[in-house]
């Protein structure tokens, strides 16, 4: 396994080693190479994202925090400790917290209430980097993988779930900051691209939204890290030139609810692999 990953990493480094002024041919070649590797990823042993899945599995059953217990009694919406298919129904309303939560908000809630874990440390390490793993990214990789093959089932029956979807939709169209951008500036029309990068149209339900939401969390080759959708939105706002959005804030969850609504029925294949 280790050798496969090393070979893969070397090839990917070549594939993504082009800068902003790549030729169209290079870009096409890169895309072809990536497609080959995406197909190879049907063998889970060759997607480095599965290293995060393995670490997440350890973290799920690790006793720690002031209460020295594991997360195994955490209820992700389908019963304490139940993991199969839970991610396909997130975000959703949780009565014990009286709010709509995505997986990371829910895990933070369980870490705090069940384990008595230091959330400051968890939040500080929210995004992994060389020499530092992220418990959140690892746990999300593990738990989301337990829903791989499941269909996205947005939860929209509770009043607060409906509110989150409506707020998420409004945020999707909310323009602001120094470049006047919103999510919809880039993701509001079919068949558009930035430079040579194709942009999914997330303004309407269907295949683009399904393919997008069905592929998070993902292993980001260019960053060498497993990334969650919290990170994806963090990076979207970064590129919009907005200020840094608060990690685990309800607005990010609301956008996720809206996008999962657009992606209803799409199949999760996670962790995926992306440029």
């Amino acid at each position: 396994m280790r050798r496969k990953i090393a070979v893969f990493a070397a090839l990917m480094a070549c594939a993504v080693g082009w800068g902003g002024v790549a030729s169209a041919q290079q870009a096409v070649d890169t895309e072809k190479e990536l497609e080959k590797y995406r197909q190879m990823m049907s063998d889970p042993m060759s997607n480095p994202g599965f290293l995060a899945v393995d670490r997440g599995e350890q973290l799920w059953s690790l006793k720690r925090g002031t209460k020295n217990v594991s997360l195994e009694t955490c209820d992700l919406g389908i019963g304490p400790g139940k993991l199969e298919g839970a991610f396909a129904k997130l975000p959703r309303y949780f009565a014990d917290a009286d709010k709509v939560m995505d997986l990371e908000q829910r895990l933070a809630f369980c870490m705090d209430k069940i384990q008595g874990l230091d959330l400051a440390d968890i939040k500080k390490r929210r995004f992994g980097k060389p020499g530092q793993t992220s418990d959140m990214e690892d746990l999300v990789a593990f738990i989301a993988n337990k829903s791989s093959g499941f269909k996205i089932e947005p939860q929209l029956t509770h009043a607060k779930e409906k509110e989150a979807a409506a707020v998420g939709e409004a945020l999707f169209y909310r323009r602001g900051d120094v470049l006047d951008f919103s999510c919809s500036t880039c993701h509001g029309e079919e068949g558009k691209r930035i430079r040579l990068q194709g942009l999914p149209d997330l303004s309407k339900p269907g295949k683009d939204a399904q393919a997008t939401m069905g592929s998070w969390p993902t292993y980001r080759v260019s960053q060498g890290q497993l990334r969650t959708f919290q990170h994806r939105l963090w990076d979207c706002y970064r590129q919009q030139r907005a200020p840094e959005p608060g990690y685990l804030s309800d607005g990010l969850t609301a956008i996720t609810v809206f996008l999962m609504k657009q992606a209803a029925g799409g199949e999760l294949q996670v962790p995926s692999i992306k440029r």
Binding site: A166, V167, L171, R175, R193
Partner: protein, 202 residues
């Protein structure tokens, strides 16, 4: 000031219920969420956080303002444009080409720097640059197609400075209005579009 904005928000809901409520959410609820997403303004960003009346209307109408709002926005935004003191909007097209190809600067992970305009993210310009986006129209032959007329160059400078003064609720940023680009940069970009020697016009 905040109170005034809030009151305006409420007035908008009352006077135009079809806008916000058809989309299922009121302005006050949305404000509650955005306040929680960005609880405090980062240092040095005080002048950058802009959700002004124009963006409010563009957001709530999904860039389809009413005819009345369209006219109001156009007049208001056009009035913000500051032309160079000597009236010359033409800079150096070669510098403009570099600025158009530079997408760096302005993110919360960047140190303060001279920002790039990143025109190629959305527009085709010089045909030699094949890595261009399609969110905006092709600007190839932009100056040539306008006869290289000085008044057209001035209009292009104004559009770069504040796009909404020409096309309310366009996707294009208001580069000068927000101070994202300098006067010299905007002059260089105008020259890139209007200099007959610029590859954009070849």
């Amino acid at each position: 000031m905040k109170k005034i904005a809030f009151a305006l928000g409420l007035a908008l809901i009352v006077t135009t219920p079809a806008l916000a409520q058809d989309k299922g959410i009121d302005a006050a609820t949305l404000e509650k969420y955005t306040k929680a997403m960005w609880p405090k303004t980062p240092e040095g960003w005080e002048s950058r956080i802009a959700y002004d009346d124009t963006m409010k209307i563009c957001s709530e109408t999904r860039n389809q303002p009413s005819d009345a709002d369209f006219a109001k926005i156009k007049a208001r935004e056009a009035a913000t444009v500051k032309f160079p003191a000597d009236g010359n909007v033409m800079g150096d097209y070669k510098s403009g080409l570099k600025i158009a190809n530079n997408g760096r600067g302005g993110t919360f992970t960047d140190k303060p720097m001279t920002n790039g305009a990143n025109c190629y993210a959305c527009h085709q310009l010089d045909l030699q640059e094949v890595s261009y986006g399609t969110l905006g129209p092709s600007l190839h032959l932009y100056g040539k197609n306008r006869g290289f007329k000085p008044e057209e160059a001035k209009a292009a400078y104004a559009k770069i400075y504040n796009s909404m003064g020409t096309a309310p609720c366009t996707n294009m940023p208001r580069f000068g209005y927000h101070g994202f680009l300098t006067e010299q940069q905007m002059k260089d970009l105008t020259a890139m579009l209007f200099d007959p020697n610029s590859p954009v016009n070849k």
